[in-house]
Symmetry: C2
Subunit: 344 residues, 2 copies
DNA sequence: TGGCTCCGTCGAAACGCTTCGATGCTCTCC
DNA sequence: GGAGAGCATCGAAGCGTTTCGACGGAGCCA
């Protein structure tokens, strides 16, 4: 409840001097600074965020924008949100959530035009994202967790889907697999241009060619039932398959169950790895599933840092970071069955 | 970028008239209102949040405070956060996250004293929570998702742990079980006075007495390994056990695995239900686990509504809501084995 | 027709901070 | 010893709203 002028009075200096002492925006003698700080905590003074924001035209609030659709929520999302809030806080910012159901930039514009947030972080970025257009047109500061087709002039941090997929395929190829199935997300997701799906599909195909092995992509909805169903499709269309790659956390249960139902055991009869999942997902199964784990917290941290840096040093060069997933071997992948046979 | 005085000029009225037209805080003639609104969207005017907050002393921002400790993050937490943000937005508010690692009220005070938030929502409330003391002393508006020992004068919404536990025990008793084990969270959690654990333990014991059946409580850490370990302890200490109740999502995997390892199958050899979990948890297993599911989104919504109502109608009576979990029967509980034998 | 009330509108004073220009002071150098 | 530079500090003008008191005009009743 104490205001800056109370502090000034107690410290015996002017209001502006207090302001300079707090913000360091002009040199202040050590003696004065000490008196000011003493007065501040005598009064347990807290600068008023709104007043500060109004005068300085900087709210020190960041917006986190993640549209939520049918993909739904998993562990990763929460890790992102929490990581982002933490980092923002550490940097002296606050984080506002705008979990808008649609991707329409309208409400986003509202948020930015109200002077509430200094910048926004975009999650779940599409290849061709209307939010990006809008923000760009407004010249409003933002950073992305994810990336789109044209990323010129945009700071972002994203999972390195290309290298992750390539790592995964190489890993399985090295184990001796020659017929892979990649279970990704829904066809609509692909068509909407959702980067993770688009990129991994491209890299999957490409890497297969490089290794000269067979494989196919299967689109799969976000439920256990979908996972279960796709499994049957796979075995029908591609009976020789020996290893499965999945990037669909919500269908994974169905896949694991389905394998068990069909009498396949991991990794003796078939290999399975999950891509771009939270560490915690793979642990949920029995046996646990080898995971190419997405470093959610780190990405969130980097995303926020990118944005804060942009706000505070607009002249810094653009930074675009790709973080590969790290493999956590949980034993659900091994050499294919025929290899065992050969060995015998 | 347009300000209220631009709008006033274009509409040919005074600044205060525009303000009244926007906020409805004084009667304005229909003709004038129309001109004002026309001017507003001609200029695509957005009121400046900081200026408004400063002048009105209401930021229209809510703080969501959830300390995160070893219990870690699950589906429920995210559902809370998202539900809260949605409801806040619908009510014309924004939601700020303060995921502070500690329960120390210091940073909370900072948040409130900066005039940044109009009110806060407390999650993960302890029986005797320092945050509650602090907020009370400040006469700062808040609502809780959860409750503490002394809830006088506090709006809250909480899971009805008592009725949920009692429902669960009754359900199992009705199936014919006479020896139960309740696997709850860690002993430290209990000792720290965490409401959900304290209350369910009390009710468990009480309900056993009412039904005159046997049972014991087992404290269990928040990992699959802990779940696995506790299972062995249970079978040693209570060999006659036929049904397990668990309120520990992170240990649940270990429990389910452990049962399988020991050759018990659900529900033929033993029954299992999980309490106060997200709907999504039970579905993750095979067979799925019968869940007394916590209505996270609804609770979040109610919590936010409680707070907003308190802010806008301070005179309204205090509301304290208990929401029972609803059972989702997934088939992991059935009559105990000896009953089958009897039938044969 | 004069005196009321009531309605719609206006002007100006906050709200608590930042920031710009100005001012005095001390120190240095010819 | 006086001009010049540099440092620490001050006063005041904003920032874009809300809100309070006031005011003019219309409508009513006596």
């Amino acid at each position: 409840m104490a205001t800056i002028s109370d502090v000034a009075r107690v410290a015996g200096v002017s209001v502006s001097t207090v302001s300079y002492a707090i913000n360091g925006s002009r040199p202040i003698s050590e003696a004065t600074r000490l008196r000011v700080f003493a007065a501040m905590d005598a009064l347990s003074y807290q600068p008023h965020a709104m007043a500060r924001g109004l005068a300085s035209k900087r709210s020190r609030i960041l917006g986190l924008h993640f549209p939520m659709e049918d993909r739904g929520l998993g562990f990763t999302e929460l890790e992102f949100v929490v990581g982002a809030a933490d980092t923002a806080f550490a940097g002296g910012y606050h984080l506002i959530l705008s979990p808008l159901m649609s991707e329409q930039p309208r409400e986003l514009l509202q948020l930015t035009q109200q002077g509430l947030v200094d910048g926004v972080i975009l999650m779940e970025v599409l290849q061709d994202d209307p939010r990006v257009e809008a923000l760009r047109a407004l010249r409003f500061p933002f950073a992305m967790i994810g990336r789109c087709a044209d990323n010129r002039g945009i700071d972002y941090v994203d999972t390195d889907f290309e290298s992750t997929m390539s790592d995964a395929v190489c890993y399985l190829a090295a184990l001796g697999h020659t017929s892979l199935a990649y279970i990704t997300q829904s066809h609509q997701t692909f068509d909407s241009g959702y980067g993770p799906v688009v990129r991994t599909c491209a890299t999957f195909t490409q890497t297969l060619l490089q290794h000269d092995i067979a494989g196919a992509i299967y689109f799969c909805g976000a439920s256990a039932a979908d996972g279960n169903a796709i499994l049957r499709t796979i075995f029908e269309e591609q009976p020789a398959v020996t290893a499965l790659l999945a990037m669909n956390d919500r269908a994974l249960v169905g896949i694991v169950q389905g394998l068990d139902d069909l009498g396949y055991s991991l990794p003796a009869d078939i290999s399975l790895v999950t891509l771009v999942s939270s560490m915690r997902i793979g642990e949920l199964f029995r046996p646990p599933v080898t995971t190419f784990a997405v470093p959610s917290s780190e990405m969130a941290r980097l995303g926020v840092e990118l944005l804060i840096d942009r706000l505070e040093n607009p002249a810094h060069p653009i930074r675009q970071l790709l973080i590969p997933c790290t493999m956590v071997d949980q034993g659900s992948a091994a050499a294919p069955a025929h290899m065992h046979v050969v060995r015998v």
